[in-house]
């Protein structure tokens, strides 16, 4: 399918160099006759070409001419989408989720002012993480790296990371807060105290508590950081599931005039109209259909469809081990479609919606002229697990579709030889 020898040579070169993300100049690329799912205003375009120059999408149309030296890819009708969102994850800040020494996602300063909104997990981001190629070969191009709950229900900050080797986040940071049963151990065993503490934190950040008060919960830096979010800079992403808690959260956010997004929202469908009118987007765990705890009695596979029906912007997240499983996110989107979510909305939830919600839609999330050429070519319907990503481009660079897992696979696919498999053939 891939015609150009150029591309193959480039892939080989990258493989020799070991890692995809070397900062070589972006190659011009013409992808011909794809089914282009723009995830933007133009919807889906059949038999359409996409021209990439200088790492940016220059043209989308039919019969586009290939500039000299450009790599030409014959898509033969296969789907081309924006590179997918990898969910709210700890990609790059953990290698093995169960092995503490490899995990940097949470801060636990239990005895030294545990509430640290100033904690910025992106400073731990390792662009060489082995997890990144594993996600990339699945067509994933960006993720919201999250601070996870350590010793406070205010987890700290994260940000959008493109998986192209960049070490720093794209766009504004986000602040992560967890409410409900999963966080009551940080609020004196009651979720009511989460509001009590939030109110005090807001009072501190807004300067209503003297900085030298013996009751201060925040460091001076923490005050400044929280004040920024309270001033509307950056989203506060709140992990919460119970409908009643979501209602209180909406009331709080309206009163304090902060921009929030909700992650989880297992019972979100019960407050769909309120979420829609407050313009609060939701990251849904599309697998959640069991009463995993007493905050999720109303969990249903129709959550995404019902929220969308109510007018809510829907994206996706994984409640479980979201980092190694980032590739499961598109399965969740497919499940949402099987349970009533329109296909175009599901694709938007993996592309445009998270980019918009996280303030990076000027660069990524759609296939539009002028956007960064982060895109994925698929063997078929990208929302169906029976299909796979065939090629990922980030900033117009074809990313080698290799990972530690494909290396292991290929080593053991070979027939045994005279030397142990540890020796290359």
């Amino acid at each position: 399918m891939i015609r150009a020898r150029l591309l193959r040579r480039k892939l080989l070169l990258a493989a020799v160099l070991g890692v995809a993300a070397s900062p070589v100049a972006a190659q011009d690329v013409l992808i011909r006759q794809a089914t282009v799912h723009t995830a933007g205003n133009r919807g889906t375009l059949r038999d359409t070409d996409v021209l990439v120059q200088g790492g940016v999408i220059r043209a989308i149309g039919s019969g586009l001419a290939a500039p000299a030296g450009a790599t030409v890819v014959e898509a033969a009708g296969k789907p081309l989408t924006p590179a997918l969102f990898g969910g709210i994850s700890e990609i790059g800040v953990e290698e093995v989720s169960g092995e503490e020494s490899t995990v940097d996602s949470a801060v636990s300063l239990e005895h030294d002012q545990p509430i640290r909104p100033e904690f910025d997990v992106t400073l731990a981001f390792n662009p060489d993480s082995v997890v990144i190629p594993v996600a990339r070969v699945e067509g994933i191009g960006f993720t919201l790296v999250a601070a996870t709950t350590g010793a406070s229900f205010i987890a700290g900050q994260g940000g959008v990371m493109r998986l192209d080797g960049s070490a720093d986040p794209l766009g504004p940071h986000a602040l992560f807060v967890r409410l409900g049963t999963d966080a009551t151990k940080f609020s004196g065993t009651s979720r009511a105290a989460q509001w009590m503490l939030l109110d005090q934190l807001v009072a501190e950040a807004r300067g209503r508590v003297p900085a030298d008060s013996p009751h201060a919960l925040l460091t001076p830096t923490g005050r400044a950081v929280l004040a920024r979010y309270l001033g509307g800079q950056g989203r506060i992403v709140v992990l919460v599931n119970r409908a009643a808690d979501i209602r209180r959260l909406l009331r709080w956010a309206a009163r304090e005039k902060v921009r929030i997004a909700i992650a989880g929202a297992a019972e979100g469908w019960r407050v769909g109209p309120e979420l829609a009118s407050a313009k609060v987007p939701v990251f849904v765990d599309a697998f959640a259909d069991l009463p995993a705890d007493f905050d999720q009695i109303g969990a249903t596979l129709e959550n995404a469809a019902r929220l969308r029906q109510a007018g809510v912007e829907v994206s996706f997240m994984l409640g479980g081990d979201s980092t190694p499983n980032a590739r499961k996110l598109r399965q969740g989107a497919g499940i949402a479609v099987a349970n009533g979510l329109p296909w175009e909305d599901a694709l938007a939830g993996l592309t445009r919606v998270p980019a918009q919600v996280l303030g990076v839609a000027d660069r990524i999330g759609t296939l539009e002229v002028g956007k960064t050429a982060d895109m994925t070519l698929w063997s078929g319907d990208p929302l169906d697990v029976i299909n796979t990503a065939q090629q990922l481009w980030l900033g117009g660079r074809a990313i080698p579709m290799r990972s530690r897992q494909t290396e292991l696979r290929d080593r053991y696919l070979r027939a045994a030889g005279p030397l142990p498999r540890a020796y290359a053939p």
Binding site: E95, V96, S97, G98, E99, V131, V134, W269, F287, D289, L290, P291, A292, D293, F294, Q296, I297, G298, A299, T300, E302, N303, G320, D321, T323, P324, N325, R327, K328, Q331, G334, I335, V337, A338, S379, L383, D384, V385, I386, N387, T388, Q405, T406, L408, R409, Y412, L413
Partner: protein, 469 residues
């Protein structure tokens, strides 16, 4: 006396109570399962995957008296048969999960429900998972909506030897006995690697992998001695019931042919050595699977399946040679060190070995609802490396192969005449994210219908809670 899997399974063919093969496997908590009454059912004009590796297009499946009566084209059916139009739909055997913790780690996952790991000693072969099963776990109903008709509920993996697993039919009931699969052998759950040493490292050991192996060996040394002392002597027609002492009789366990007080732990291990209890081992790494295969030889037991086995692809040939199934995930990896080498072609490579037995398992209340999708991922990734796997073959990973590993393959797992009427009608090719089970039959009765609320079980727990309509 070590009956083969096949011979053991042969004893299951009738639903009458099965005489214990030895006192180690007597069952004081017998199955009270009764199939739901149902008239004949004819599913017509469907694409049928039989579970024997065959695909039949435009075919019918006839269920009579709770059993598969016939599979083929244009079948004759009794006049009173309920006819189901399967045009454009697919039919498969009921899905079987060899590794579930439904009921023992139920939803909601509150502390009071944490009944899956008896984390009080590294060897708890004496505990039976069935005594922890909460039949009201809403997860059973969700698994049914995913086409699951039978499942093995196992103890967790905290212990070297976790205890006995139980095979259930996935029917709504107020007791587990009413779900208990008639005649199915028990499983024995063992665990390799990180979990036991993590749990016991700070409380007396084992603290290392070598400690783990020493622990298995010590347990089986005890069991071997116990077994030889308690082995019934040949031709002893007047043998008393082994529990007569407990019930006040004059005889006792050690009278005549037994070697002392009955020991629940050693009963289970001796039953495993005898082959009457099927050994299922949680084991991730290739090197540890090799150790466990040697351990099995040392003590003369057979391993039915390695579970999780994220490195099974590294030992696929030996697994096939030893007749051990790999009960595996499609794509789990990276959540702990021993899962670091997981690859998405694991199942395909285990399957590829001549004689290989690959199983898609869940170990998850989420995964059990969509084992068909997990298999689809395997097909998709295998295709990338030029392995073309047909739907009629892939379905065996979720039906015939787990049935084999659970010792129930003579009665379920395929759509062959005489087998239990455990059947799923899918809205399309099941190997797709969009596939949904429309109807599920267990022993010929429609126990789930996506389009008929009166055929959707709701657990007691969900009543009056304002759950999702």
């Amino acid at each position: 006396m070590r009956p083969t899997l096949l011979a053991m399974a042969g004893l299951l063919c009738c639903c009458a109570p099965v005489a214990a093969k030895s006192r180690f496997t007597d069952d004081p908590y017998p199955s009270t399962y009764k199939a739901i009454a149902s008239g004949p059912v004819l599913i017509e004009h469907a694409t049928v995957l039989t579970g024997t590796g065959t695909r039949l297009d435009d075919a019918d499946v006839l269920l009579v008296d709770g059993k598969v009566s016939a599979v083929g084209q244009r079948l004759q059916a009794p006049a009173e048969a309920i006819r189901v139009d399967g045009t454009g739909k697919w039919v498969t055997p009921g899905i079987i999960d060899v590794h579930s913790h439904l009921g023992v780690y139920p939803s909601p996952g509150v502390r009071a429900h944490s009944d899956g790991n008896e984390m009080t000693a590294p060897v708890t072969a004496n505990v039976w998972a069935e005594h922890s099963v909460w039949p009201q776990d809403p997860g059973f109903g969700m698994a049914l909506a995913g086409g699951v008709t039978s499942l093995q509920v196992l103890p967790g993996s905290a212990n070297l030897v976790g205890g006995r697993g139980v095979t259930l039919k996935n029917v709504a009931a107020t007791s587990y006995q009413a779900m208990k699969f008639p005649g199915a052998p028990w499983g024995l759950k063992m665990a390799c690697g990180e979990n036991p040493k993590r749990v016991y490292g700070g409380k007396g050991g084992p603290a290392t992998r070598m400690g783990n192996v020493a622990g298995y060996r010590a347990a089986f040394i005890d069991a071997a001695e116990y077994r030889s002392k308690n082995q019934p002597k040949d031709q002893q027609p007047k043998k008393k019931r082994w529990f007569s002492r407990a019930s006040g009789g004059e005889g006792n366990d050690s009278g005549g042919d037994t070697g002392g007080k009955r020991d629940l732990k050693l009963d289970t291990l001796a039953g495993a050595i005898n082959g009457d209890i099927l050994v299922h081992i949680h084991c991730y790494r290739a090197d540890e699977m090799n150790i466990m295969m040697d351990l099995a030889k040392e003590f003369g037991f057979k391993i039915a399946a390695f579970h999780h086995g994220v490195e099974a692809y590294k030992v696929a040939d030996r697994l096939a040679q030893e007749g051990i199934c790999g009960a595996l995930w499609a794509d789990w990896w990276g959540f702990k060190m021993e899962s670091f080498d997981g690859i998405q072609e694991n199942i395909a490579i285990v399957d590829r070995a001549p004689g290989g037995c690959a199983i898609v398992h869940s170990d998850s209340e989420e995964g059990i609802q969509r084992l068909n999708q997990e298999a689809a991922k395997v097909i998709a990734n295998a295709r990338k490396i030029g392995m073309d796997i047909s739907p009629e073959h892939a379905i065996t990973w979720l039906t015939a192969n787990p049935a084999k590993a659970m010792g129930i393959s003579t009665v379920t797992g395929t759509l062959e005449p005489g087998k239990m009427g455990d059947v799923v009608l899918w809205n399309r090719n099941p190997f797709s994210v969009y596939a949904q089970a429309e109807q599920v039959y267990i022993d010929g009765a429609r126990v789930y219908d996506r389009h008929d609320r009166s055929r959707q079980p709701v657990s007691d727990f969900m009543l009056g809670q304002g759950g999702a309509p």
